[in-house]
Amino acid sequence: MQATLVDQARRGDAEAFDSLARMVGDRCMGIAFRILRDADLAEDAVQTAFISAWRELRSLRNPDLFEPWLHRILTHACYAEARHRTRWEAGIRLLSVEPVHGLDNTLTVDDRDQLERALRRLTVEQRAVLVFHHYLGLSISEVAERIGIPVGTAKSRLHHATRAMRASLEADARSSTNQERMA
């Protein structure tokens, strides 16, 4: 079904591309939002990615690889959005106020706060690796292929990102323990 739509879209069928976009759009939004931590930026990145994909669709040789191919385009669109934001809002960091779905009850408010802050301190490239690994459940080699980076680079980015995220949780846990002792 998806491959058929890709074939039609490659021949310039905008209707087919629209159907294709609606099949994969929610997942793209999920990826972009988790990388960028901002709904407006994520929507802009997804829109940019779709338009780039339309423009470059004829370079995709295997229609079955449309979604991985699109995800790579989306990742680059996220990088561009993040850098655009960095240029215009250097130094300003706001925690997300977006309504989030699928809240996990193992996470406390403090956990979320610490993890959000830690995530925002990571580079956008590190965030992308984390998102593809945890949100899409891809292995390191799959993440590397999806993003278009060497496996060693993906490993290194995941290692540093995970270490930073763990450190933020552990620091929060130590802080809570000290406060309990002093009380």
Partner: protein, 305 residues
């Protein structure tokens, strides 16, 4: 620490939370944009390694039609398809209008031939015209490809392929292990592109040399595919040279070798801030006359809007 407080589990749970729905206005905006955004025509590679030989001409023809139609539609003052001028026999090749006719069974007529016409979305455009010096050259208007006797394969084939309007060139570190050696950052200048090609594994590259072609400066480098290379052992059976643009993606090899022993003369020019990559290729067994004609075709190149 209990399992539920395991940091890795918490990180995983945290990244599972978030927005998962793309609002309808975004789809509508995309739809509006694509209605006015043309799809980019793709030039080359000459052939895919596993394509059924009998399917190739049809697919190639289809691709050429797409490219030609796009080019016709975009080229100001271009003749209508099917009604274009053909060179008059009484006019010398240098004075003749470039042929707009597709290759016939006998190949292209001698004289000027538009190798490509590139127009970026930003409005930059460049057209490359070459002079066909002898019979037996095949290629179609604007396709970016010319082949002697319609044969790019070893041991005797020869031809050229051109990539125009190149902003980003991802040169694989190892053409055989290309899937894992694509650089994070592309070459964006002639010097960077040639340096990356010179450093490519197993290519026995020549020293880059300065060139001027059609009034534009650039660099030339000669690369080899090892005679004993077994392409079947390479990633996906492809000896890949480079990927043009960032978004060709997972499946986006732009140029790969036809076979062992291939000699690539790669000329890269800076044409008004955009790279033009000209790859003319042949083998040890290619007749010397064919190589000389190929060189003459490349050296005849002129650029204009």
């Amino acid at each position: 620490m209990t399992a539920s407080r395991d940091p890795d589990r918490l990180i995983h749970a945290f990244l599972g939370e978030g927005l998962d729905e793309l609002p309808d206005p975004v789809y509508d905006a995309v739809r509006d944009r694509i209605e006015t955004t043309r799809q980019r025509a793709v030039i080359g590679p000459w052939r895919t390694s596993d394509m059924n030989r009998y399917l190739k001409p049809g697919l190639a023809a289809a691709a050429v039609v797409v490219i030609a139609v796009v080019a016709f539609n975009l080229l100001p003052g271009a003749p209508a398809p099917g009604g274009g001028p053909t060179p008059s026999p009484s006019v010398s090749p240098s004075e003749a209008e470039p042929s707009t006719q597709p290759s016939t069974a006998a190949g292209l007529p001698e004289g000027p031939h538009v190798l490509f016409n590139f127009q970026s979305l930003e409005g930059a455009s460049v057209q490359m015209t070459v002079t066909i010096p002898a019979p037996g050259w095949f290629g179609d208007w604007g396709s970016g490809i010319l082949l002697k006797n319609d044969n790019p394969d070893p041991p005797e084939g020869s031809g050229m392929i051109v990539f125009a309007g190149v902003e980003d060139l991802y040169v694989y570190g190892d053409p055989c292990a290309w899937s894992t050696t694509r650089p994070d950052t592309p070459a964006t200048t002639v010097d960077e592109a040639v340096a990356a090609l010179a450093a490519q594994a197993s290519r026995d590259a020549s020293a880059p040399a300065d060139i001027t072609l059609g009034g534009y400066t650039g660099k030339a480098i000669t690369l080899h595919v090892p005679d004993d290379a077994n392409l079947a052992d390479c990633d996906e059976g492809i000896f890949a040279m480079f990927q043009e643009s960032a978004v060709s993606g997972v499946d986006g090899v732009s140029r790969y070798a036809q076979g062992p022993g291939q000699i690539d003369e790669v000329w890269i020019l800076d044409v008004d801030g955009l790279m033009v990559v000209i790859d003319w290729a042949y083998y040890e067994g290619t007749p010397a006359d064919d190589v000389a004609e190929l060189r003459a075709i490349v050296e005849s190149a002129t650029f204009g809007e």
